[in-house]
């Protein structure tokens, strides 16, 4: 979807961030750079829950009186429905805070265009294998605290299974709830398995925790950017060929999904 330039508006990309993992916020800044280069907004900024600048500091970054807020989060849930609105003092789709209008868009992970990104990533990581002999597993964190946290993944599984992508099976699996990603080999019936982490960044979970659960690593390794040698696909494990991709959020085209959410916001809320 194309988006008209908004020379009087700012775009605020909100991420989680980390005080421990330097890679956690990298995709957010890359998405911001990508959009900034296109010259669509007067300003493009990032802010975080666990990194600087904080969401409350973000107000002081912005000159424009009109601000689109896009959560660069993978699902709707506690952060997008509670933390971000509270931190930015948002009470609805559009909220005026100290003279600025903040338009609160949906998180990137729930947008329908994520399907194409997942399939692109799956093809890139395993270009020479037949989908008909392959199980595609989309993996996320999962938590018993919020059902919405897995809904985005389950929706993508349904969309890809119903598409003509041709995978023998498309499954969801999680770190902390069933079906567990650690049991990937038992979940799949095919000789090939492609695992795409449905996370924004190659941070603690996708690059350090899940590889241990998959059996690629025996212990949690250093942060992705600190590795001298990145993992090489495929991995011959548990009688199968395993292909493990980097987190879906590291896809530079995710910048387009951010813009899609802005366009969808306008269509839904500002076109009346």
């Amino acid at each position: 979807m194309s988006i008209a330039a908004k020379p009087n508006s700012a775009l605020l990309i909100v991420g989680h961030g980390s005080t421990e993992n330097p890679d956690s916020s990298t995709p957010y800044f890359e998405h911001a750079d990508e959009i900034r280069q296109r010259g669509l907004f007067a300003e493009v900024h990032c802010c975080f829950w666990k990194e600087e600048p904080s969401m409350r500091e973000a107000f002081y970054l912005i000159d424009a009186d009109d601000v689109y807020v896009v959560p660069d989060f993978i699902s709707e849930g506690y952060f997008t429905q509670d933390v971000i609105p509270r931190e930015l003092q948002l009470t609805g789709a559009t909220t005026v805070v100290r003279g600025k209008s903040f338009h609160y868009c949906l998180p990137v992970g729930v947008h329908r265009s994520m399907t194409d990104l997942i399939l692109k990533r799956a093809r890139e990581v395993a270009p020479d294998i037949a989908p008909s002999e392959t199980t595609l597993i989309i993996t996320g964190h999962g938590t018993g605290l919020n059902q919405n946290s897995t809904k985005a993944i389950r929706d993508q599984v349904d969309l890809i299974a119903a598409s003509n992508a041709g995978y023998a099976a498309v499954l969801d699996a999680y770190m902390e709830e069933q079906p567990f990603i650690a049991e990937w080999d038992q979940l799949s019936q095919t000789p090939n398995v492609v695992v795409v982490p449905f996370f924004i960044s190659d941070g603690l979970h996708s690059f350090q925790d899940i590889p241990v659960m998959l059996g690629i690593e025996s212990e949690v390794g250093a942060a992705a950017s600190q590795r001298e040698v990145f993992r090489h696909n495929p991995h011959h494990l548990r009688g199968k060929m395993l292909y493990y991709s980097s987190a879906i959020g590291t896809e530079r085209l995710l910048a387009d999904v951010i813009l899609d959410q802005v366009a969808d916001f306008d269509n839904l809320h500002l076109s009346l």
Binding site: T19, E20, N21, E52, P53, E57, Y60, Y78
Partner: protein
């Protein structure tokens, strides 16, 4: 007036430092040049005195993410910015973009303070909004928090920010080097430097509060 225009005006009026960055104008034909302040004499030499040159603000985040020894700079107010580089910037918009990577929002916070619109958040407000594993941080005692500030904050602990917040609305910080620090990690006057302002406790401090709160809890627990 935009933040970038206000920044330009500050430089015209004699400001040339923020944190450990020296801000220079009209060097070798570039409108703005920034570098580690300890490298600033190199920039006027031919070829920037051998400093690694970065054109434009794109590399600002990479330069500010790790210290010289490869340590992750988890708060940008840390006084361990690496040396050996110089960045050229074509205009004040790019300058502000770069500064917001090195010292996130610090120009805006300073401008807001100058304009009397900076809102400050007490430690209790910050801790009471923490979730998940950090929720426990809110149980730290006032005395524990006061002690922690002197163990974690200020230039003696590699943080160059001026603390603006209190424990709560009625409880100021105890007097210490950390609570007195003016946000300028050099001997420059306030006419020459933009101070780094700390309007809310950082996430590193929150994490330390959690550890201290757990230690307080464990110390109070009856011995088995």
């Amino acid at each position: 007036m935009s933040s970038a225009s206000q920044l330009k005006k500050l430089l015209q009026n004699g400001i040339h430092r923020i944190g450990q960055l020296e801000l220079q104008t009209n060097v070798h034909g570039f409108q703005y040049v920034i570098c580690h302040f300890l490298d600033c004499e190199n920039t006027v030499q031919p070829d920037f005195g051998g400093l690694i040159v970065h054109h434009g603000p794109a590399d600002a985040r990479d330069l500010s993410t790790y210290s010289e020894d490869g340590t992750y700079r988890f708060t940008k107010g840390q006084t361990n910015l690496k040396q050996g580089w110089v960045m050229t910037l074509a205009n004040e918009n790019d300058l502000l973009l770069a500064l917001d990577q090195f010292y996130p929002a610090c120009v805006g916070l300073f401008l807001a303070q100058q304009g009397g619109i900076l809102e400050i958040e007490s430690l209790r407000e910050k801790l009471n909004r923490q979730t998940g594993m950090y929720r426990f941080a809110r149980s730290i005692s006032d005395a524990g928090a006061q002690a922690l500030i002197q163990q974690v904050c200020g230039p003696a602990h590699q943080c160059a920010k001026k603390i603006l917040w209190q424990i709560d609305d009625a409880t100021p910080l105890d007097d210490s080097e950390a609570s007195r620090f003016n946000g300028i990690p050099s001997s420059l006057s306030e006419m020459e430097a933009i101070p780094l302002l700390c309007r809310e406790a950082c996430n590193h401090f929150v994490a330390e509060c959690r550890k201290a709160a757990k230690a307080e809890f464990d110390a109070k627990a009856p011995q088995a």
